[in-house]
């Protein structure tokens, strides 16, 4: 697809399949993620996102297919992969009666850091995620947002090359989501990380993803930059322009519109017009309307975007195209 970017993928998945009995959780998945990319694995609940992530980490065995992460096969050498990959599961668990620092220190030591080095790194990361003031507080008293921040620090403690986040924004309030995604983006740029994040909340993660993959019922339906994705998925659908004018001007507007040859069809609904056209640019129409002194309330070029992806794949759940 995007040839030059794909020369040296850090994560490569080929024909990956995972079955639980008769149920196919992941079906023939092919995926390549380049170094330094922020990739969003999007899909409704139960699409097989978490299963894929567990297989990338070597925590679950694939039924068929090949995976390489940083050139290593996680099925054969899970330890080497786990050394390079930071993982933040959805709803991460901490030892509730331990302090934030102790929890991080355990992870640091499990990654081979000495006690003093681990403490240093834990403090540095707590400062980065903005929890330096509560380092000595027990995690049991933390709010949801603080836990996610601590989880991010926890997954960064091993200085990973790849960061895998499973539903990182789940259960956070809108402000929390905004802060948290900004934090992920900032840290990934600072530490030059490749980030793979899964989510079913399309809107919340679209801002930070370079590329997304749409995952429905165990299959990757499409992948690419999110705007291209919509264009590609809905390429057969026609574009239209939505126009709303002052009620006094509806009669005149109708006349102008029907006179224009480039317009295929016009649907009128009170003072609202839906103009189907492939040729007329919106500026041209606007200029014409302004010249005729028509009071425009709203003029919008409607292209298919993520909202349409969302309604088609996430809410309806029906297969499209």
């Amino acid at each position: 697809m995007e040839g030059d970017k794909m020369t040296e993928p850090i994560i490569r998945v080929r024909q990956l399949t995972k079955k639980y009995g008769d149920f196919t959780a992941v079906n023939d998945l092919n995926l390549e993620i380049a170094q330094g990319e922020v990739f969003g694995l999007l899909g409704p609940n139960g699409a097989g996102k978490s299963t894929t992530i567990l297989m990338l980490l070597g925590l679950s065995e694939p039924t068929a297919g090949e995976i390489t992460v940083c050139g290593i096969d996680p099925v054969r050498s899970p330890l080497a992969v786990k050394r390079l990959v930071g993982y933040l599961p959805d709803n991460i668990g901490f030892y509730e009666h331990w302090t934030a620092l102790e929890n991080l220190l355990l992870t640091a030591q499990l990654n081979g850091l000495s006690r003093t080095a681990g403490r240093k790194r834990a403090f540095a990361l707590l400062a980065k995620v903005g929890l330096q003031d509560v380092a000595e507080k027990k995690v049991g008293k933390f709010s949801r947002g603080m836990r996610q921040r601590l989880g991010l620090a926890d997954s960064l403690i091993k200085e990973p090359k790849v960061l895998i986040l499973d539903e990182p924004t789940l259960g956070l309030d809108p402000m929390g989501v905004k802060d948290f995604t900004a934090l992920i983006l900032q840290l990934s740029r600072e530490e030059k990380l490749t980030v793979l994040l899964s989510s079913h909340q399309l809107y919340q993660v679209q801002q930070i993803c370079d590329r997304v993959g749409l995952f429905i019922q165990g299959k990757l339906v499409a992948d690419g930059p999110i705007q291209d994705l919509a264009a590609r998925l809905f390429q057969d659908e026609k574009r239209y322009i939505q126009l709303q004018v002052d009620p006094a001007d509806t009669e005149r507007t109708h006349q102008i519109l029907t006179r224009m040859e480039a317009i295929d069809t016009v649907e009128q609904n009170g003072d609202r017009f839906q103009i189907h056209t492939d040729k007329t640019p919106v500026q041209q129409l606007l200029k014409l309307l302004v010249e005729q002194a028509i009071n425009i309330v709203q003029l919008q070029q409607r292209s298919y975007g993520i909202e349409d992806i969302y309604t088609h794949y996430f809410e309806g759940g029906t297969r499209h195209a």
């Binding site: 925590l59 050394r83 993982y87 599961p89 709803n91 991460i92 668990g93 009666h97 030591q109 081979g112």
Partner: protein, 323 residues
């Protein structure tokens, strides 16, 4: 990370340390420790005061083993030390193991630990080693404390033979509690709720301490040969009953401790008169005592290993996906 082998050992020691710290900080352990500590100290105190006032009988072959008698004698008000341990030890083992895996699974910490660069079995091994070292240090401390207090009280040190027997007694006790520990770890791998695994483990413990003897009594009544039965029939009946009794782990433990702590015991089963004829009422050497209860001790160790192997098997195949 200089050497991966070294760093793996380091990570394992970190996990074990975490387990030990968790145990000794937890309330359930502190409460059980208090119960066991108090009952054991009380039983040892009554044993010591009983021994202080009664001089050993001249024909008592165990008279030379004063330090062993502390653990088996009682003045009637309290059960002796080894009976107490046989009864409360399983509770300690269950308490240390019943939530080993499922609590971490439900708390979602299992996934976090396993996504670190450690082998998967390290987690389970650390659970076992951590609890085992807590148990071992507890009983070593308790027995050393008793021997030390008794030495101060009576004014002479234990002999080598006594030390060896006490060492083996400690080892046997640790193995016995490790069996219950492994059983409860097995349940904690199999059952998702900590309450289920705790209740199942306690139910098995109750079954063997309360109901199994009752069932055995009923069986014994039905099997009992009449008063005029031949000697062979009576022997057969006795052997059958003993075999049935030894299905309970506590019976295996008490057979083993009896042999270790009472050197004059020559057999755990029935003996013919002619087998006893000409026997000098003297204590057996340590190795001979061990031989008498060898099969019981091996059975206990085997049960422990089987339980651990089963939990290992189930743990390695467990989906660690969070609920």
């Amino acid at each position: 990370m200089p050497n991966p082998k070294h760093s793996q050992l380091y990570a394992f020691s970190i996990l074990v340390r975490k387990e030990i710290a968790d145990h000794i900080r937890s309330w359930k352990f502190i409460i059980l420790l208090a119960i066991i500590g108090l009952t054991c100290v009380a039983s040892l105190y009554t044993a010591l005061s009983a021994l202080k006032n009664t001089a050993p009988a001249p024909n008592d072959p165990d008279a030379a083993f004063f330090f062993l008698k502390i653990f088996t004698t009682s003045d009637g008000t309290m059960p002796s030390f080894h009976l107490f341990v046989g009864f409360l030890g399983p509770l300690l083992g269950i308490c240390l193991g019943f939530d080993a895996v499922n609590a971490e699974f439900n708390g979602r910490t299992l996934g976090r630990i396993l996504s670190q660069p450690i082998h998967r079995d390290y987690f389970l091994n650390a659970k076992f080693i951590g609890a085992l070292s807590v148990i071992a240090s507890l009983f070593v401390a308790l027995i050393l404390f008793t021997v030390g207090a008794a030495t101060l009280l009576v004014g002479f040190p234990p002999s080598w033979a006594e030390c060896n027997r006490l060492m083996l007694f400690t080892l046997l006790t640790v193995v016995y509690i490790a069996f219950w520990l492994n059983l409860s770890i097995l349940f904690s791998v199999r059952f998702r709720h900590t309450a289920t695994s705790a209740l199942v483990a306690i139910a098995i413990w109750l079954f063997f301490t309360v109901f199994y003897p009752i069932i055995l009594n009923i069986v014994a009544k039905s099997l009992q040969p009449n008063t005029y039965a031949s000697e062979a029939e009576i022997m057969q009946y006795q052997h059958a009953m003993l075999t049935l009794m030894r299905f309970a782990p506590s019976q295996l433990y008490s057979d083993g401790t009896n042999m270790l702590l009472m050197p004059s015991i020559r057999s755990l089963g029935p003996l013919h008169m002619e087998q006893l004829q000409g026997a000098i009422p003297s204590p057996l050497p340590l190795w001979e005592s061990i031989k008498v209860a060898w099969s019981q001790m091996v059975a206990l160790i085997a049960c422990t290993i089987i339980c651990f192997a089963a939990s290992y098997y189930f743990f390695m195949r467990k989906e660690i996906r969070c609920p």
